[in-house]
């Protein structure tokens, strides 16, 4: 709506001031009026897979990518998870790989019994190749240590 208003004002100003130079209204079409993304699912998957596959990725960027993925309303495709596991191997961070797998399991929500076994089955070749255990194999899918809540301390 504002775009049409602005265009009308602009054309009125032009005719009013008798500007004969042809001006390129390049600024107007490029303005994004909504937050909707035009990226397809495949493009999204490719973007994240290539992000994790970067050879020079460091620990911070890896965590940033994982955190952003976990913030979205989706469960990453197995090939994105595979790329993340390989990135963990490149930065020599074993704990991060386990943490990401736990996060994926948490993202499954109510459907964890359907989705999580499928994901583990899909990424198992990579896990065995890199020597990463699943959280269940390490035994941390059940609580181990209890921590006193900060609200219970005096």
């Amino acid at each position: 709506m504002f775009r049409t208003v602005a265009l009308r004002v602009h054309s009125a100003v032009r005719t009013g001031l008798n500007l004969n130079k042809p001006t390129v209204l390049a600024a107007f079409p490029a303005r994004c009026m909504s937050h909707e993304s035009t990226e397809t699912d495949a493009e999204f998957d490719n973007r994240y897979e290539s992000f994790f596959n970067r050879k020079d990725i460091d620990g911070w960027e890896l965590r940033k990518g994982m955190n952003d993925l976990c913030g979205m309303d989706l469960i990453p495709e197995p090939r994105i998870i595979v790329a993340a596991m390989k990135a963990c191997r490149r930065v020599n961070d074993y704990a991060l790989a386990i943490r990401f797998l736990e996060a994926i399991k948490n993202k499954c929500g109510g459907k964890v019994n359907e989705i999580y076994p499928y994901i583990v089955k899909e990424i198992q070749p990579t896990l065995t190749e890199l020597g990463i255990d699943t959280p269940e194999q390490l035994g941390i899918d059940k609580p181990e240590l209890a921590l006193q809540s900060v609200y219970d301390m005096s």
Binding site: E102, A103, L138, P143
Partner: protein, 110 residues
Amino acid sequence: MKNGSRITHLVALREKEKGDWKKLTIEEKKALYRASFCQTYSEFTAPTGEWKSIIGCTLFLSALGVWLYIFLKLFEESKRAQLKRMIDLQVNPIEGIASQWDYEKDDWKK
């Protein structure tokens, strides 16, 4: 907790982490995890049982409310009789309670 020995153990473990992960034992893997993360997902999402104390406090306060109501109901008749006596005695007839009572109509002034 001995400071020196724990830190050197982690330094050695970090070196081992750079090598083949298949050579890490389960305990070492867990130690690496705990070095980075204080609690596991299952630990910080574990139920706290807080709902029991919430229900308990709510019911306790509701009970206090019910007791207050019972107390007021218990003395309702005697309070009404006390008020009637005050009006009959014309207590504070100029600015106080009896000034609000209309003695012709035998009701409160509108």
